[in-house]
Amino acid sequence: MRLGIISFILFIFLLVEGTIFQVFVPDAWGLPFTIVPRLVLAGVIFIGIYLGKNTGLVYGLIFGLLYDIIYTDMIGVYTLSMGLMGFSAGLAARYFHQTIFFTSSMILILTTINESLAYGFYELFNLSNMSMSDFLLRELIPTVLFNGIFAIIIHVPMRNVLKDKGYGEDIV
């Protein structure tokens, strides 16, 4: 049941990223920077933190693959990066208390790594047309800040969905 709800939420996040959010992105209104919404990634990190590293890995792989199929031509970049992020969120959660400070800083760090990984892969295959400094200033910093704020907003509802009854560490 809980997994059903969280899968549905992540699915909605996945759709919102490419549709509703794209109307409101800053560069659509002529601003020089852009925000890449990583709502799904935030959800995957929450799952990793509250439901364990293996669940995080599985959710990261599945939703990364969906993201790749719907939004990009090349399959594998986001599958790999989101899977890794879910897994490492689960790993780190073992050593810290799951406070709002921990989750939001986790999302800040992992979003940075995820963006850099994706940029690295697209640069490796020579598909990105952005220089390193442009990537840092125009894209990475606004994106990470936005996702940090988003993490603080969804922390309490996500905790309520994910941490109700006394399940074990790992579900999958």
Partner: protein, 272 residues
């Protein structure tokens, strides 16, 4: 640990295998894209509608200000009527220009399509439109915005939806043969896209060295290369430098189309 390493190697292998151009994706991809495109269409359209209402409201506010200014101008009626004559002339001229463009578009088979979604990240400049193989969309068809400016080409088609690669993604090797309009057309190839001074420019290469260029000249597709039809508006000439080895010129072209907030597009089929 070994499993993770094997997994990473496998995924990088998949990336390498799928990075090349695939006009007809595999059936699981087609299935997922088609089934999600209906849901996404339901999400995208109302949002666009709401923002349209908002922009209209700002328009109303502008009209209010304008009305005030016009009332103040009423005293200077003679001057305004002189201006009117001038504007009338300009209007006629623009109308004839528009007709020319319309006629050019009329030579092709046009299909209207709704935009369903846009890729959130900025390394894949892709949009998905609401028509696919069922409606006769084929890979490599030109896609123009509602105003008639070229925005990209169809890169892969599913049954009910298809992906459009915007002009910014041009570096993948799908060059566009273009010509600068003037007394005699100047031919070149659009090969890339750069960001300069917060503005994106298309890079047009292989323009002959001796030719004098003028700023603000229109750049259209030339129809050579058999991919794009002739005469689609791309942009205007902004600046130029010496090209590779100093034998040619490289022209920076400012695209006319707005690549954001695209609501409807025309897919253009080349008539044989």
């Amino acid at each position: 640990m070994i499993i993770i390493i094997i997994g990473i190697i496998l995924l990088i292998g998949i990336m390498g295998a799928t990075m090349k151009e695939r006009p007809f994706p595999s059936w699981p991809e087609i299935f997922i894209r088609d089934s999600l495109s209906t849901v996404q269409g339901m999400l995208y359209k109302p949002t666009q509608g709401t923002t349209e209402i908002l922009t209209k409201m700002t328009h109303f506010y502008n009209i209010y200000n304008e009305n005030k200014a016009l009332k103040a101008n009423l005293d200077r009626y003679a001057q305004v009527s002189a201006e009117l004559e001038q504007v009338k002339g300009e209007n006629d001229r623009l109308r004839t220009m528009l007709e020319i463009r319309d006629n050019k578009l009329k030579g092709y088979k046009i299909q209207t399509a709704e935009v369903i979604q846009r890729t959130p990240d900025r390394w894949n400049h892709m949009i998905t439109i609401s028509k696919g193989t069922k409606d006769g969309i084929k890979p490599n068809m030109a896609v123009v915005s509602a105003k008639g400016d070229l925005i990209g080409r169809v890169s892969s088609v599913s049954t009910f939806s298809s992906s459009v690669e915007l002009l910014m993604d041009i570096e993948k090797g799908n060059y566009i043969s273009a010509s600068i309009t003037g007394a005699a057309p100047i031919y070149g190839v659009i090969e890339g896209y750069v960001m300069q001074k917060d503005q994106g420019f298309l890079i047009m290469k292989k323009v002959p060295k001796q030719i004098k260029l003028t700023k603000g000249a229109y750049v259209t597709t030339s129809g050579m290369g058999e991919v794009m039809p002739q005469g689609l508006m791309i942009g205007v000439v902004d600046s130029w430098t010496d090209g590779d080895y100093g034998l040619t010129q490289t022209v920076y072209v400012r695209p006319l189309a707005n690549f954001y907030q695209i609501e409807q597009v025309f897919v253009i089929e080349k008539k044989m």
